[in-house]
Symmetry: C2
Subunit: 164 residues, 2 copies
């Protein structure tokens, strides 16, 4: 039995109790959340989201990459979201390395240098501001008037707003 | 009051009841979930995840893009995950357009053609296979022996495995 098999058993229980089969495709709260992939950051629990409420976009760091901007363009243009909630967090893995060192270690092992930026950062507040700025500067995201950035504190469970 | 303000009130309640301040950074179940951003797909609820269990990576479609591969490289190399659970779903927004039409509509409005692939697809099962293949072909993701793909049925709540 793998961990995946355990999760599939949980999914069978979820289906057995499922009663939300008629929810529409567009998010009911017209919001998209962009957050780090970190295991301790339970976006549904933290924000009190239910099925159907919000798009949830996550990657390593919660950094606004081209893929996040693609996802936000689709979210706003095709599915009607109007607000963005951006969440980084304390004790993030992205604080533990540098792009140069990480990519050099991969090159040393595989012989190939990654053709992407690893997007490590030194301060979560600063990187929230950087990520908000990237959203506001994107020419393909139409609604940037309600973009707010936060740092989630994994030690306390608190969500703290980052002032621009 | 914006929707974001409502979600912040929920976050205050979460913090008030929070008792998980000592969880470690690496995911306890050593798994990374890659899923679509769709609002109806509650990854924590579906898979029975709790805080600390699993990385969660999400974008428009749950498509394996360069940013997802970056996130998986960080997840496996720096934070010890060993399995990948990939989830697309029925009634996906990515089934409702083509890359060419979407990008042409953006160009018509903004004067600029997006420099990214929108990653629309015609069949979720086929795109799960495509996404699994992209993970297995990536030279920077070290552990590809436990990568399994699924389609979540938004109508029934069921998670169906896609055979390769």
């Amino acid at each position: 039995m793998s961990v995946t098999d355990d999760l599939l058993a949980n999914a069978e229980n979820y289906a057995a109790a499922f009663d939300k089969g008629d929810l529409p495709l567009p998010p009911g709260k017209k919001v998209a959340v962009v957050a780090c992939m970190d295991a301790r950051l339970n976006v549904y629990g933290l924000l009190g989201l239910s099925e159907g409420d919000s798009h949830v976009i996550r990657n390593a760091g919660g950094v606004v990459t081209a893929d996040v901007r693609r996802s936000l363009a689709i979210s706003q243009r095709l599915l009607g979201t109007q607000e963005v909630v951006l969440i980084h967090h304390t004790d993030c893995g992205m604080l533990t390395f540098t792009d140069d060192d990480f990519k050099a270690s991969i090159q040393a092992e595989t012989g190939i240098k990654p053709d992407w930026a690893a997007e490590a950062f030194g301060d979560p507040d600063d990187d929230v501001r950087q990520s908000v700025a990237r959203i506001k500067a994107d020419p393909f995201i139409p609604r940037t008037g309600h973009v707010r950035g936060f740092v989630y504190e994994v030690e306390t469970g608190r969500l703290r707003e980052v002032k621009s």
